[in-house]
């Protein structure tokens, strides 16, 4: 289910005196099975771009081709596209509404008009995929779930549509460390085991760096980098200059480099940082 973005431009409040262009000449191609991180400062246009991936925004200028279907084409079945490219919003409260967890997760498949048997099967499967216990939580009130459980229920509600691509829009915001870890594990599993293409929008450089294989950096509505994760983070000075807060481990390593330690650049997480420091210290000891 490849996604092709061609010369995409987008403006808010188009046709009013307050018109403001938010995306400029975006060209991106997303292939099956990728894990892409989209990063950039707040209001850079990340969400607006991502909402073009499942036809929540329809381009006025430029094109978005999803699995060969042009979203600007009147013939294209947008509802079916939205089922195949799932979109999970930051705040689960935006989508949860049904009396029970089960009914809420079933909402997508019900919209697909699937038979009851199939729906039940999908709900069960989606709940398992996100680690919500089917037996105890199926009939639980969605509003009675904890913050972390709500996020997982929201993801399950989208997974139940059996998407081939999943867009996750800052889904860890506001969670505590354990809740964050659980969600990130679920996402990792979906990518590795279910082979779902993941498009992960995040404000957290730490998360993007440790999960994504490829990073797209958006600034002021333009794609300024699009490359393998390590290569993008090697350009940390540029990232810093557009106002991104770099992964803490990376900042630490850079400070150590300035202090004269011969450490490699492009360290992405704490464990890599620890290992590279150990390596350098061992080398130093060997020299003595």
């Amino acid at each position: 289910m490849p996604i092709e973005v061609i010369n995409l431009n987008h403006s808010y409040k188009e046709g009013t005196p307050f018109e403001q262009q938010v995306l400029f000449d975006i060209n991106i191609s997303i292939n099956d099975g990728e894990f892409i991180g989209i990063i950039g400062p707040t209001r850079a246009g990340k969400t607006t771009l991502a909402q073009h991936f499942n036809a929540l925004h329809i381009p006025r200028r430029g094109k978005v081709i999803i699995d060969g279907f042009d979203t600007t084409d009147k013939q294209t079945d947008l509802v079916s596209i939205r089922h195949q490219v799932g979109y999970v919003f930051q705040n689960p409260d935006y989508q949860l509404f049904a009396p029970t967890v089960g009914e809420d997760i079933a909402f997508g498949p019900v919209n697909q008009k699937l038979p009851a048997e199939k729906i039940k099967e999908r709900v069960q499967e989606a709940m398992t995929q996100v680690g919500l216990d089917y037996n105890t939580l199926l009939n639980r009130d969605v509003f009675a779930l904890s913050g972390g459980q709500k996020r997982r229920a929201a993801i399950a509600g989208v997974l139940a549509c059996r998407p081939k691509v999943l867009v996750l829009d800052d889904v860890t915001a506001g969670l505590d460390p354990r809740g964050r870890e659980e969600i990130l594990n679920v996402i990792g599993e979906l990518h590795h085991r279910e082979k779902i293409t993941i498009i992960f929008i995040s404000n957290s450089m730490d998360e993007a760096a440790s999960l994504a294989e490829r990073i797209i950096v958006i600034n002021q509505g333009k794609v300024i980098m699009d490359d393998a994760t390590r290569k993008v983070f090697a350009r940390f000075e540029e990232l810093n200059s557009i106002g991104l807060e770099l992964p803490e481990a990376m900042v630490l390593i850079e400070k150590l480099r300035l202090a004269g330690f011969n450490l490699p650049t492009g360290v992405l997480n704490v464990n890599e940082a620890l290992n590279s420091i150990i390596k350098v210290l061992l080398e130093m000891e060997a020299h003595k």
Binding site: D176, G243, E245, A249, G260, V270, I277, I278, L281
Partner: protein, 279 residues
């Protein structure tokens, strides 16, 4: 030293006395000392927010007592005085700003105190200046970033000139940059204006800037001490669903490997110093 806030065997249950009673706090004894910056941390649902809401009388203990500068929050007549001493900033900046213009919102608190007009104006100017918000004075909050809105919320409480400010997860809804800016403001208010700060958070890189920290778990106060002392017990900390600061994680790892690095480091500079000594 006189304590600003002291809780004595504080217990609290939501919907006490009904069939849906939920126990939220168990026998909490904690004090907040003048001039300190105290971190209260713990997982979501650990009871830290419930505890914080006792500090200025938004909640009244089911059992035990909360004393703010000698006044019990149990006595309704004390509440107005208590709220002058202890101001509170909440998680979601959108749900605490009232006016459609920044400076008017900051004036909201002082107006409620019934201060004379000139004094309100002075305080608003001072709060705007202290938090570097002068440029945003006439903006509507809707035009601001979440981080800026939170700074405005802090300014609104600052203008009431509290001795103590309780910040209830002020950074949870912010992006990393907004988070850093709000943290910097809190540290500055503590160090430069001498305001006692109670910071609720689960970001360990915020906790390391505090003088003291407590960890809550399941409504109980489980650990108490300086960040340095507490992060030394990495296993305990992780058991309560929290992370270690990056520096502590690395320092502890190096220490385990037998390098001569102190295991209780929390600041980047300390780690660099320690490593430089190994050169």
């Amino acid at each position: 030293m006189e304590k600003i806030i002291e809780t004595i065997d504080l217990n609290y249950s939501y919907r006490a006395g009904t069939s849906e009673e939920v126990r939220a706090l168990y026998d909490i004894n904690i004090s907040v000392l003048p001039g300190e910056m105290l971190a209260i941390t713990g997982q979501n649902g650990s009871g830290k927010s419930t505890l914080a809401r006792h500090f200025n009388g938004l909640l009244t203990p089911s059992a035990g007592d909360v004393i703010v500068k000698g006044l019990s929050t149990r006595n309704k007549e004390n509440i107005k005085e208590i709220r002058k001493v202890v101001g509170m900033v909440f998680q979601n900046p959108d749900n605490q700003l009232i006016s459609s213009i920044v400076e008017e919102d900051i004036a909201f608190g002082p107006e409620n105190l019934g201060l004379p007009q000139s004094e309100i104006r002075e305080r608003v100017n001072w709060a705007l200046h202290t938090l570097n918000l002068e440029k945003l004075r006439y903006e509507p909050p809707n035009n601001l970033s979440a981080g800026q809105k939170q700074q405005v919320a802090i300014a609104g409480v600052l203008a009431m000139k509290p001795e103590c400010m309780v910040l209830d997860e002020p950074t949870a809804h912010l992006d990393p940059r907004g988070r850093r800016e709000v943290l910097e403001s809190s540290v500055r208010l503590n160090k430069e204006e001498g305001i006692t700060i109670v910071l609720l958070t689960h970001y360990m890189n915020e906790v390391i800037h505090c003088d003291r920290m407590v960890i809550m778990d399941n409504g109980r106060l489980e650990m108490q001490g300086t960040p340095r002392e507490i992060f030394l017990n990495s296993k305990e900390v992780k058991k309560m669903g929290l992370d270690l600061p990056v520096v502590t994680h690395i320092a502890a790892g190096l220490n385990r490997k037998g390098f001569n690095v102190a295991p209780d480091l929390i600041h980047t500079e300390e780690l660099i110093d320690n490593l430089c000594r190994l050169k």
